[in-house]
């Protein structure tokens, strides 16, 4: 299993990813500490609609950390076809059939690998949030960070949900057809969204406002905690069911060496 995981790590160019993320983490610590020791000038201070004054650079640091978290989420989504494609390209299936590795273990390695990526990325995002918010006083930016933190777990659970759908499709149809199906579904959703923007009721968007979401989160701590407890349980259950389906499909393709 360790070897299969390392193979996938190499196929996503893991060492470079680790290097980039480490550099970003160190950079964010340095910037955070600089902002502690430098007294903000008047130009750095901005005011929101409620009249709360906050440091623009602190908000910028938060946005940078959140943007990178989203990039990381999208990246992991892209790694799923890549680790399948790498095996097809390298004719790994022929090689695997000569090794004492069962098909179940092969499929399990894919699921475990993405699971580890999701866990590591989520942990890293928590660390970034902690660093960014370390020296903040109560106020607007801290509220935003708490909001981001509350929604980060359900966000990362979405990757597991996506992987639960993608893996069986890629195992059943291969990388090429699987990618076509995925693109087809995503494009259909995009077309639906564009259609809604043309013909739907746009007044709905007027009600969506970051301050309202912060206020909602303040008054609905029970709902948020419940979402945080339930979302990983649902995502992991689906992930396990998806693994069993993928094993069933993969074992049906060819007879196992056992």
């Amino acid at each position: 299993m360790g070897g299969l995981l390392y193979k996938d790590f190499i196929s996503i160019n893991g060492k470079s990813v680790v290097r980039v993320l480490s550099v970003f983490t160190v950079l964010i610590i340095i910037l955070r500490l600089i902002l502690v020791f430098v007294t903000p000038s008047k130009d750095w201070l901005v005011e929101n609609d409620k009249g709360e004054v906050f440091n623009f650079f602190e908000a910028l640091l938060l946005i940078a950390a959140q943007m990178l978290a989203w990039v990381l989420v999208c990246y992991i989504e892209m790694w799923i076809p890549r680790i399948i494609k790498n095996d097809e390209k390298g004719k790994l299936h022929n090689f695997l059939s000569a090794l004492p590795v069962s098909k179940r273990a092969y499929i399990a390695s894919k699921y475990v690998f993405i699971g580890i990526c999701v866990y590591a990325s989520f942990s890293l995002c928590l660390v970034w949030n902690v660093i960014v918010s370390a020296f903040l006083d109560e106020g607007y930016v801290l509220d935003l960070i708490m909001l981001c933190q509350a929604f980060s777990l359900p966000l990362f659970c979405m990757i597991l949900f996506g992987a639960s759908v993608e893996f069986p499709v890629f195992v059943a149809f291969g990388k090429e057809k699987g990618q076509m199906i995925k693109t087809g579904i995503l494009e259909s959703l995009a077309m639906l969204a564009v259609g809604y923007l043309f013909f739907g009721d746009l007044n709905v968007f007027e009600k969506i406002d970051i301050d309202r979401i912060v206020a909602w989160a303040d008054t609905h701590s029970f709902a948020l905690t419940l979402i945080s407890v339930i979302s990983p349980l649902i995502a992991l259950s689906l992930y396990y069911i998806s693994y069993r389906i993928s094993v069933h499909i993969y074992e049906g393709k060819e007879r196992d060496y056992e």
């Binding site: 866990y119 590591a120 902690v130 370390a134 029970f222 905690t225 990983p232």
Partner: protein
């Protein structure tokens, strides 16, 4: 990921052979390098992360979390020590790093134990506290903690989920203490002494935090020395449980989960126990916590030594 040998039964000759095989470092030298690196880097972090020397109570929750990032240094130093001493990163055998996960041969049971044990002794601790000092019972204390009543009842589940998903920080500690220090200590001085010495080292590593009021606050007689002593006691008892779970499961992950769930405070009763209602806040709290952990530790020790 593969079968794992027990931490402690290696013959002294085997230790010498493995030391020679891996380079010129003995177990004692490796341990000293590890401890030196861990103490210097973590203490340096506590110094940088708390530039204005605030007490734990005075700083906000996010600042506390920032300082608590020092928890990741033991595992970083574990990796560094292995690189410096050319020990390699085995997932099984004598110099096992214990980073792998094994579910086979009933080892999944220790993961389950890791989720539930902290909940059990946290509730037991609060019950003992109420029995020793009934005046602390406050039916509406959870309101002053800012917790909704219905939220209070899903707190253990939330703590367990938080423990699993946020176990990276606890992994930082356990990956170092249970993954490197304890196996080395057990090989050097045997399990009994290693559990006590390991607990004291772990407790002393917390000393900078205890000195700013983490765990016990700053308002108690004998501050901070009594706090450091209590922390060492607490670490000896918890260390026994965590080492037992690591040894039996062949992985530091159950210990990391248990540590994280423990830190998340998975107790419903905590919403009803108001320490401010009593004068003997520190002593009663500490005694009840020690008793509750000891209740769990004693059966563990019996099982351990019976099997031996």
């Amino acid at each position: 990921m593969s079968n794992v040998k027990s931490l402690h039964h290696a013959h002294p000759d085997e230790n010498i052979r493995s030391s020679r095989k891996a380079g010129t470092y003995t177990d004692v030298q490796r341990l000293l390098i590890y401890l030196g690196l861990t103490f210097v880097t973590t203490f340096l972090w506590y110094f940088i992360a708390n530039p204005d020397r605030s007490t734990w109570e005075d700083m906000g929750q996010m600042r506390q979390s920032f300082i608590a990032l020092g928890m990741v240094f033991p595992v970083i130093c574990h990796v560094l020590t292995r690189v410096i001493t050319k020990e390699g990163f085995n997932f099984s055998g004598d110099d096992n790093s214990y980073f792998g996960i094994v579910f086979k041969d009933g080892k999944w049971k220790y993961f389950l134990l890791a989720f539930l044990l902290p909940w059990f002794y946290s509730e037991a601790g609060n019950l003992i506290e109420l029995a020793l000092d009934p005046v602390r019972y406050d039916p509406e204390y959870y309101i002053s903690l800012g917790i909704e009543k219905r939220l209070l009842f899903i707190l253990p589940a939330a703590a367990i989920v938080t423990g699993i998903v946020g176990s990276f920080a606890a992994f930082g500690e356990e990956g170092g203490w249970r993954g490197y220090m304890m196996p080395k200590l057990i090989r050097i001085m045997g399990r009994g002494r290693a559990l006590i010495v390991g607990g004291i080292i772990w407790g002393l590593w917390h000393a900078p935090l205890t000195c700013i009021g983490h765990n016990f606050g700053t308002d108690y007689p004998g501050f901070p020395y009594l706090g450091i002593l209590c922390m060492c006691l607490m670490c000896i008892l918890l260390g026994i449980l965590l080492t037992f779970i690591t040894e039996k499961s062949g992985s530091v992950w159950p210990a990391a989960i248990m540590h994280a769930v423990n830190n998340a405070g998975p107790s419903i009763l905590q919403g009803y126990v108001n320490p401010e209602k009593s004068d003997a806040s520190f002593s009663i709290g500490m005694i009840s916590l020690l008793i509750s952990v000891a209740i769990v530790v004693i059966p563990v020790m019996v099982i351990w030594y019976k099997k031996k």
